[in-house]
Symmetry: C2
Subunit: 378 residues, 2 copies
C-alpha cells in the first residue's frame, strides 16, 4: 500500500466529510438500511454525488456513478460505508464500481453486515482497485449507530428521551406535567421520533397522558422537502403492554398503525386490533431484552423510548439503554414531584456512571446527551 | 454632547474591555469594595493601566494616573465604574482626574453607591471634561453583581452552589454523598468560595459532613501569584445555626474564624467561641432575610451558599437566591436518593421559573448556571 501524502490525507477527509453530509440526508428514510453517501472525484473535481434514500431504491454509489457517467473511469470514490458485495434488493455495488473502471475507493468504515464485512473492499482490491477504509470512521459510525448495533449485537440502539425540571423531576406528584419544555424542545423531539425506526412507549404513558407519539409535519421545524421525506417513512409506534391494559379506543391506537408487545395471549383483547407480538415475560412484565431482540429481528435499528419513569427505569436498570437525551426545563418542580427514573438505589457505588457528551440550548430549554460510561467490570 | 464616530465607538469598547480585564484581577481581593479597572489612552497609545486591589489601597484610577504621569494630560480615561466623588479611605478619584488634566472620561456604569450615584461624572463634567457612561455596562454590572445588589437593595448577591447527579439527587437516602463530582468541579467550587465575601452554610451540613468550607490554596487551580492574592483575603465562613446545635469542637470552628448567626442568646453555648450574631427567628429558625440584611450591613457583597437541601430550599422558597450554580455529575443516584432542594410543591404553576444562562463542561462534570426568571407578577 502506498503511503499517502499529507495533502492527500486532508483531501480524503474533505471529500469524505461531503459524503457524510450527503449520507445524513437519508436520516429520516433509509430504515432498515444504513445511511450512506458517496462522492466521486476526478482530477480534483467532484464528478458525481449520491445518497441512499430508501430501501429498494439504488444505493449511494449507484446514484453517484450515474451522475459521473464516463468520468468515473480512473476516479476516486468516497463512500461512507464499504460498498456491498452481495445481492440484496439491488446488485452488488462493488461490481458496479469495478464495471465503471474507478481507480480508487475510500470507505469511512467496513460494513458491519456479516454478509459484507470486508468482502466488498476485498472484491475491489482483487479487481486491481486501490482501496482504503477508516477515513472519518467515528463520524460515519455515529450516523449509523443503530444499524451497527443491530448487525454487531442483534439489538437496536436504544435512545431514551426524558424531559425534566432542573431539579430532576418529570411531573408533579399529582401527575400534572403538560408543557414542561417549550416549543423548540418539542420540535427537537419530533425530529428524534422521525429519525427512529420505532418509537417505544409503555401502557402507563398511553393510559395516563393519552399519548399518541406520532410525527406531526407542522411541528418538525424542517423545510418542506425534508418534512415530506420524514412523513413518507413514519416510525412504527410500539407499545409495551404486558397485561394488555390499553383499550382499543385509546388515542394511541386511533392515531395509526401500531405494534403491541405483550406477554399474554392477545386473542381475546384484540380480535381485530393492532398487531401483537408475544414475547416472554414474568407476572405480566414483558422481558425487555426479548422485546428488543424481536424488534431487531424485524430490522429495527433505532428505538426512541418515550415512556414514564417505570419503563425508562427498567430499561436503564437492565443495561439496555445506549443513550439518554434529557430535555431540561428552567424550573424547579420541588422535592415532592416525580422522579426521572423509578430506580431505587441504596449505595452510591450502585449508581450507574454516565458520560455527558453534550449540553446545548434548545430554545429556552437545554438538551443533555449522556451515554453509559464504560466501567472496569463491564 | 458630540456624536461619536463608529470608529470611536469600537475603540471605546476595545479599551473598556481591557479595563474590565484589569478589574477582574481584583475578583478575589476587593471585598467589600467593587472590582474596578482603568486604562488611560493618549494618541491611540495606552499610557497607563490600573486596578483596585484591596480596600484601603488606591483606586484603579490612581494606579493608572501614576503609571501615565504627565501623559495623562488631554488623555482619555476608561474606567469600569464611575470615579468616586467622596472621601472614603482615599481622596475622590474625580479630583485626581481633574488635577491630572485628562480630556475625556468614559465609564462603564454609574456608581450605585448612593454617596456617588452620578456625582463623580457630574464633577468631571463641571470641570470641562467630556464624560460618558454606559460602555460595556452589562459586562461591568456582572463583575460587581454583589456590590450593586448591596448598594441598591441592602442585600448581598446570593449564589447557591449545588452538586447533583443527572437525575437531580444530591446524596443517597443514607446520606452517603462524598465525591459525587470530580476534581475540576471541586477546584471550580474553591474559586467560587475565594471570590465570595462570605461562605454560608447550615448546621446540618456542618454536623453531618464535618464540612469546613475553607479555601485551600492547593485546590484553587490558580497560578502562584493569584493563589497568594486569593489566600490573602479568605471569605468569612458563616454558619446559620438557629438553635446553636454545632459544638465548638466541630471541624468547622477549628478551621479558623467564623461567624454564627442564630436566634437564641448565645451566652451559654459559646462563652469563648466564635462571634455570634443574633437575628430574629421563629422556633429556632433564623429569619434568613434578616440574616442577609445583617451581612450586607457588614459590607458583604457576595454570599456563596453551600448547604443541604433544607437551608438551600428555604432560601429558594423565600425568593432570596440570585443565582444557582449546579454541578452535575454524570451518574444516576436513583429515585430513593435525596432531593436537590427540600421544597415540596403541589402544582406545576407553583414551581419557580428559572432561566438557564450557561451550561459548560468542568472536567468530567458539567456546570449549570440558572437565575430566577422574571415573572409577570414580580
Amino acid at each position: 500500500m502506498n503511503v499517502l501524502s499529507a495533502e492527500q490525507v486532508i483531501l480524503d477527509a474533505h471529500y469524505m466529510a461531503r459524503a457524510l453530509e450527503l449520507a445524513r440526508k437519508g436520516v429520516y428514510t433509509t430504515h432498515p438500511n444504513p445511511r450512506v453517501g458517496c462522492v466521486i472525484v476526478r482530477d480534483g473535481q467532484v464528478v458525481g454525488e449520491g445518497w441512499h434514500v430508501r430501501t429498494g431504491e439504488p444505493h449511494a454509489e449507484v446514484h453517484a456513478l450515474r451522475a459521473a457517467g464516463g468520468q468515473a473511469r480512473g476516479a476516486t470514490v468516497y463512500v461512507t460505508l464499504e460498498p456491498c458485495s452481495h445481492h440484496g434488493h439491488t446488485p452488488p455495488c462493488a461490481d458496479a464500481l469495478i464495471n465503471a473502471g474507478v481507480g480508487r475507493v475510500v470507505a469511512a468504515m467496513q460494513d458491519p453486515n456479516p454478509e459484507v464485512a470486508g468482502r466488498g473492499l476485498q472484491r475491489l482490491a482483487q479487481a486491481g482497485i486501490a482501496v482504503q477504509s477508516g477515513v472519518l470512521e467515528p463520524e460515519a459510525r455515529l450516523l449509523n449507530q443503530g444499524f451497527i448495533k443491530r448487525m454487531e449485537h442483534g439489538l437496536p440502539f436504544v435512545r431514551v428521551k426524558l424531559a425534566m425540571s432542573l431539579d430532576g423531576r418529570t411531573a408533579m406528584a399529582s401527575g400534572e406535567s403538560q408543557w414542561i419544555t417549550g416549543p423548540a424542545a418539542r420540535a427537537n423531539v419530533q425530529r428524534l421520533r422521525a429519525q427512529a425506526s420505532v418509537v417505544l412507549t409503555g401502557a402507563d404513558t398511553v393510559l395516563a397522558d393519552g399519548a399518541r407519539l406520532t410525527v406531526r409535519a407542522a411541528e418538525l421545524g424542517l423545510d418542506e422537502a425534508t418534512t415530506a421525506q420524514a412523513m413518507s417513512r413514519p416510525p412504527l409506534r410500539v407499545l409495551i403492554d404486558g397485561r394488555l391494559r390499553v383499550p382499543l379506543n385509546a388515542p394511541f391506537f386511533k392515531a395509526g398503525p401500531a405494534l403491541v408487545i405483550t406477554c399474554v395471549t392477545p386473542d381475546n383483547q384484540y380480535p381485530t386490533g393492532p398487531e401483537c407480538l408475544v414475547v416472554p415475560g414474568v407476572e405480566g412484565q414483558v422481558d425487555l431484552r426479548s422485546a428488543l431482540v424481536a424488534l431487531a429481528g424485524r430490522g429495527v435499528n433505532e428505538v426512541l423510548v418515550e415512556a414514564g419513569p417505570s419503563l425508562a427505569g427498567a430499561l436503564a436498570q437492565q443495561g439496555l439503554v445506549d443513550e439518554y437525551v434529557i430535555f431540561v426545563a428552567g424550573k424547579f418542580l420541588g422535592s415532592a414531584a416525580r422522579p426521572l427514573l423509578d430506580w431505587p438505589l441504596e449505595k452510591l457505588a450502585d449508581g450507574p456512571q454516565l458520560k455527558i457528551t453534550e449540553m446545548r440550548a434548545v430554545g429556552d430549554d437545554w438538551r443533555v446527551t449522556a451515554i453509559p460510561a464504560p466501567s472496569a467490570d463491564v
